[in-house]
Amino acid sequence: MNSKEISGTIITIIGIILLAYAFIVGGVHGHIGNGKAFTSDDLAAIIGWFFIIGGPALWFGEVPVTIRKKIGSQETTPKEGEKA
């Protein structure tokens, strides 16, 4: 694992914990946040959401093997007459 992947892993795990916290607190209170001042659960929800969206991009940033295989199995040069 390189440093990019390690930071991606950490960000993703923190994101999952934060979002889970927000959902659990939301379940207990009947709502996430309170619609007035910022609370720990709505901040956790937003930060966790961004971390989950961005984190895996660093962690698993490369093109998935399934897509690479698909590309490898196809002709990759345009036919004559096709504008590249």
Partner: protein, 599 residues
């Protein structure tokens, strides 16, 4: 006219079924385009792992469908109900089959044949370089406006309907998880879909019970709602930069694929409803007037022709679709034969959203006694008394409530649950369109500077960097959406100053795309005779209609706009659009003459 719900269902499905097979497959795919499954698509020839990535046919259909179906196929027909239900339904059916779906399919396929470039850049090959750069700049501006509108609509929806925000919190991580298990863990697509759909259903139930009430700064001078709105604008702007810059396989493909299931359920339940309520008559007025007065057009008599494309866009035809088709979809198409389902089928499905999930429910609910009992309508009112958004929400809620009632449940519970479902679904689509529009604006920006790639590679690299280009869109679009100004006595997001012009800008774009595609079919594919006229006639009809619509708007609507800054702002844009409109037809005719001389 005394129609039953089931008759509308049959009409819609028979027309769309025949159109798909005979007009789409036999004529467009086989006779004109001659789609070839062995020809490599740009997703392979230009694969970059970010924007050019081959997608499964159904995944791409989901992306295309969810991206083109923003608020347009819902709000437009709801506004057009002022004509009664018959004229909007006719426009959605025939405009869709003969213009909209043709426009979407040809935009997609012409882009595919030119390496995945936008339809504006395709125009260079048939109309010349000037046409290309003029239209790229025009489209970039239009997309900034789209971003401003959609980030604003999503923020207002999240501030007003907090359960919709909870769904977004659940949906995005779920899409990533879905992409992970399908692309990386190698889980079968069907199994992955079943798992994801179950989680979506549970997520909806959670969101129904647990709204996300975002905090705000109580000292903000614009009030609580607008303060929450401002916070959502910032959050969604950051989201848009991320979503538009990250590779398509990472978030866009899985997210839009899952979104399509929500949309499908939306349409399916309406179709199912018309079966359950087969003996229900459409109590709404079939025809009210050819020129009712509409508040969206400064209260002026709004003639069905030429105004209808300015009212119903996405459900029948919309210029934005050509940008999606020749923007994100053409870069992900893995087989030319898939384009029929994605381009033509995606548009027909959107027409089904308009006809089955909006026009039909509103016509059934028109003045139903249950709505007076619930207090939704007051004595003497009907569905036209409600705002267009409420017409849709109440209509869908009513139809669903009646279905639940007939199946043994409570009308009121069904009404409330499905009304919220409709609002949540709408918010999901708006969010999808938001980041697709950001990505498309990035493409337009990058294509605008391609001439710099040989002259100054470092500057070109900097300007076309995907993060910088996305940031720029969000910065300018966000600046139009963030400020709140007083318009017509009430607080409104600032972009609304220019918004009245958007319908014209969008449909002029549709005319541009269809004319480009028609010229490409004539000039490059060498299609002649009656087949050629099947493309040329809709292209001319659209251009004449949009031109007449813009002239009508400039002469009848613009002078009556009450807010002077709106009159100047939106008016200038429409006038510039009209000038471009004539410039465009000049390039088109010039290209046509050149092509007919060269044979």
């Amino acid at each position: 006219m005394n129609f039953y719900a089931i008759e509308i269902l049959i009409i819609v499905f028979v027309i769309y079924g025949l159109a798909y097979v005979y007009y789409g497959k036999k004529l467009l795919q086989e006779k004109i385009i001659k789609a070839d499954s062995s020809r490599p698509t740009p997703a392979y020839t230009r694969f970059d792992g970010v924007d050019y990535v081959p997608a499964n046919k159904y995944v791409l259909y989901g992306h295309h469908f969810a991206s083109i179906a923003g608020a347009g196929p819902i709000i437009g027909p709801a506004i057009a109900m002022s004509y009664g239900w018959a004229l909007p339904l006719l426009w959605v059916l025939f405009g869709n089959v003969f213009i909209g779906a043709v426009h979407d399919y040809l935009s997609l396929m012409s882009s595919v044949r030119y390496g995945g470039i936008s339809i504006m850049s395709v125009s260079e090959n048939v109309m010349g370089k000037s046409a290309r750069y003029i239209s790229l700049a025009y489209v970039y501006f239009a997309l900034l406006l789209v971003f401003a509108a959609f980030v604003s609509v999503a923020s207002i929806l999240f501030a007003k309907i907090p359960s919709a925000a909870t769904v977004a919190l659940i949906f995005m991580p779920l899409a990533l998880l879905f992409g992970f298990i399908v692309y990386r863990a190698g889980v079968n697509l069907k199994l992955g879909t079943v798992i994801a759909v179950i989680i979506i259903i549970l997520g909806f139930i959670y969101a129904y019970k647990i709204p996300f009430l975002l905090g705000y700064n109580p000292s903000n001078s614009v009030g609580n709602l607008w303060s929450a709105y401002h916070n959502w604008i910032i959050i969604l702007s950051i989201y848009a930069i991320l979503a538009a810059s990250l590779p398509v396989w990472y978030l866009l493909q899985p997210r839009d694929y899952l979104n399509a299931y929500v949309l499908w359920f939306f349409v399916f339940f309406a179709a199912f409803g018309s079966l359950v309520l087969a003996d229900y008559r459409l109590i709404g007025t079939a025809y009210t007037s050819f020129a009712p007065r509409m508040s969206s057009f400064a209260g002026q008599p709004t003639y069905f022709w030429p105004a209808i494309p300015l009212i119903i866009a996405c459900g029948a035809l919309s210029g934005f679709h050509s940008l999606v088709g020749s923007g994100t979809s053409s870069k992900q198409l893995s087989n030319e034969l898939d384009a029929l389902l994605v381009g033509y089928g995606g548009m027909l499905t959107e027409g089904a959203v308009s006809s089955m999930a909006v026009i039909l429910p509103v016509s059934l609910a028109w003045s139903a006694p249950e709505l007076y009992k619930l207090g939704v309508l007051k004595a003497g009112e009907n569905m036209l008394s409600l705002s267009p958004l409420d017409r849709f929400l109440v209509g869908y809620g009513y139809m669903s409530g009646e279905v639940i009632h007939r199946l043994g449940g409570s009308f009121a519970t069904g009404y409330h649950v499905f009304k919220l479902f409709a609002a949540i679904a709408l918010a999901s689509f708006v969010l999808t369109t938001l980041d697709t529009a950001t990505r498309l604006a990035r493409f337009a920006w990058q294509e605008m500077f391609d001439w710099l790639s040989t002259k100054s590679p470092p500057l070109h690299k900097f300007l076309t960097n995907r993060w910088f280009a996305s940031f720029l869109v969000v910065l300018i679009g966000g600046a139009m959406a963030y400020p709140v100004v007083k318009l017509g006595g009430s607080l409104q997001p600032a972009y609304k100053i220019l918004w009245p012009a958007f319908a014209g800008v969008n449909q002029l774009l549709a005319a541009l795309a269809l004319l480009t595609a028609a010229l490409w079919v004539y000039m490059v594919l060498k299609t002649r005779g009656s087949t050629n006229w099947l493309i040329q006639v809709p292209a001319w009809f659209l251009w004449i209609t949009v031109t007449a619509g813009l002239i009508w708007w400039t002469s009848d609507v613009m002078p009556k706009l009450k807010v002077s800054v709106q009159k100047v702002g939106a008016g200038s844009i429409v006038i510039v659009s009209l000038i471009l409109d004539f410039l465009l037809i000049y390039y088109f005719v010039r290209g046509l003459i050149k092509a007919s001389k060269s044979k």
